[in-house]
């Protein structure tokens, strides 16, 4: 059977989430900043039109923001994550074969659907918009790479309700000739530069490239991209994402940290957050690596990491914090301005399969109940229970000066209507 893929991509996802709960933002330039309010990570079309680039530091465009009264938000990942799972849930009502590709993208397998694919794509778009408030673009084609191209066209086209379908396209070559090679799925900036050096400028050029040359230069992945552009399906839907191999919690500090106390607070706090994430995924970690780093641009540069092995895999916050504090004792260096610290948990196993060590005398059952109680309380209140080691003031904490409310996950931050 012929393969048919639809790529559904949320338009300016983070901005769209903000707009659902704040209708005044419609038609206005809006941007969302990364952690620590550092860089622009999402822009409304109006903000793009002002020339505000993706990923640029916020201070570089401060003048533009002021002049055009651009609405600025800190990222509200709690909200974006919830809205993302709603969008994916709606999409899964259209086909059981869905691959959640990122927070704002999903591939759907529509092979064997007898209806008009364009109509179906339009129905998907309308339903997601109505149920969740999030606008999406849909592109349909016979391979994932071409579905990406179709989606790219949908976004660029002036017709807002268009659903490009390239499955039986007679003018595929013309379509591909309009797509710059760096926009092709799997072609990174560096690859694009190498390709352009030999005159491969567009997706069309790439689709006509010599397979042997591509194999020599870019390996089998490059070959697959070329075949996919020719309409030969090389990538299937990946419905069972590989089991999580590691879990990372790391953030830049709001301002540089010099004292060992503050560094410990931060590490403890990240360890605590990591514990929460582990428990939510019903996992336990066998190893914890803590790393600290200064800015790369100063005289006293320093990067180091330290790994602790747990006697038996754990997701108990108390144990995680103890390991994090030990690591900081080992890693700390005087007169260093630390910029970032992080906790990486590896050797993850399912919570139910924790191997008890023979000499382990912790009351697992009791600590498990304590963690459950803490998680249950924290799900309900806006100022969560914390371990004392996490500190009270947390002056190193990342800045979220302009975060909107967590409208869908906190009783005390619900949307208000009159």
């Amino acid at each position: 059977m012929k393969e048919v893929f639809a790529l559904v991509d949320c338009n300016n996802f983070y901005v769209s989430c903000e707009r659902v709960f704040n209708p005044k933002l419609a038609h206005r330039p809006v941007v969302v900043l990364s952690n620590n309010d550092g860089c622009i990570v999402a822009r409304s079309n109006e903000a793009k039109a002002l020339g505000i680039g993706m990923g640029v530091p916020a201070f570089e465009v401060a003048d533009l923001i002021k002049k055009h009264n651009v609405e600025v938000f800190s990222s509200n990942y709690t909200l974006y994550d919830d809205m993302s799972s709603r969008v994916m849930e709606v999409l899964s009502t259209f086909t059981p074969d869905i691959e959640v590709y990122s927070i704002d993208e999903a591939f759907l397998n529509l092979a064997g659907f007898k209806c008009s694919l364009t109509d179906y794509g339009r129905k998907i778009r309308q339903t997601v918009k109505k149920w969740t408030g999030i606008p999406v673009s849909v592109g349909i084609a016979g391979t994932k790479t071409l579905a990406k191209v179709a989606n790219h066209i949908a976004k660029k086209s002036a017709r807002v309700d268009g659903v490009p379908d390239l499955t039986d396209s007679t003018n595929l070559e013309q379509v591909l000739a309009e797509v710059p090679v760096e926009k092709v799925w799997g072609v990174g900036i560096r690859t694009a530069i190498k390709l352009k050096r030999v005159g491969i400028e567009t997706a069309f050029d790439l689709s006509k490239a010599d397979i042997n040359w591509i194999r020599n230069r870019f390996g089998v992945v490059g070959v697959r991209t070329v075949y996919e552009l020719r309409g030969i399906c090389c990538y299937q839907l990946e419905q069972n994402p590989p089991a999580k191999k590691s879990l990372v919690v790391s953030r830049m500090f709001g301002k540089p940290v010099e004292s060992v106390e503050q560094l410990k607070e931060a590490a403890a706090s990240y360890a605590s957050r990591a514990g929460e994430k582990l428990r939510r995924a019903k996992l336990a970690a066998g190893l914890m690596t803590v790393f600290v780093t200064t800015s790369r641009f100063i005289k006293n540069k320093y990067f180091n990491s330290h790994t602790v092995e747990f006697e038996s895999a754990t997701n108990n916050t108390t144990e995680l914090i103890r390991a994090a504090l030990l690591s900081i004792d080992y890693l700390y260096r005087k007169n260093c301005q630390f910029k970032k610290c992080g906790v990486i948990l590896t050797a993850l196993v399912s919570e139910s399969r924790i191997q008890q060590s023979l000499f382990d005398n912790t009351d697992r059952e009791k600590s498990h109940r304590l963690m459950k109680a803490v998680d249950a309380v924290n799900a309900r209140v806006s100022s969560p229970l914390r371990w004392a080691a996490e500190g009270l003031c947390q002056s190193w904490q990342v800045k979220f000066n302009r975060r909107s409310c967590r409208y869908t996950t906190r009783w005390d931050e619900l949307l208000k209507v009159t």
Partner: protein, 143 residues
């Protein structure tokens, strides 16, 4: 404001309450005659929420809808997937503002009606930016 810590208490872990291994009843004799009739417990979530992906909760401020049993601070359950019909209570967006009102749809004329004599109905002009954000399906009112 700085929170001051006067004393840090450490948990007392000296006593353990472990479940003894042999407390469960040994299944012998007749099985419970009710076992066959077991059903799921009543779940308010299932009762109030038909379409979780499209359901949102919002908090009411003000008293413009008291006649409909919607009070200040009440919680509303909103289902965005429902097509609004005449006389539904809806969350509407009028010129960027969110409001809860009863919608009246007569041929092409749309009116938003409050349920409180102190407020007046609002007819939606053709050129007003207007959108139904979602249909209210339940009110949760604390007594």
């Amino acid at each position: 404001m700085v929170t001051e810590v006067k004393k840090v208490h450490t948990p007392d872990l000296s006593v353990k309450h472990l479940q003894s291994l042999f407390v469960a009843a040994v299944p012998a004799g007749f099985p419970s005659p009710a076992a066959d009739y077991e059903e799921d417990k009543l779940d308010l979530n299932k009762h109030l929420i038909k379409n979780p992906a499209a359901t949102f909760f919002v908090r009411v401020t003000g008293d413009s809808m008291v006649g409909a049993g919607i009070h200040h601070e009440d919680l509303l359950v909103i289902d965005r997937s429902i097509e609004p019909k005449d006389k539904n209570v809806v969350i509407a967006v009028v010129a960027g503002e969110l409001t809860v009102k009863r919608i009246r749809i007569k041929s092409r004329k749309i009116t938003l009606e409050p349920e409180n004599l102190n407020y007046s109905a609002q007819e939606i002009a053709e050129d007003t930016e207007f959108e139904v954000w979602g249909v209210v399906t339940s009110v949760i009112h604390k007594l």
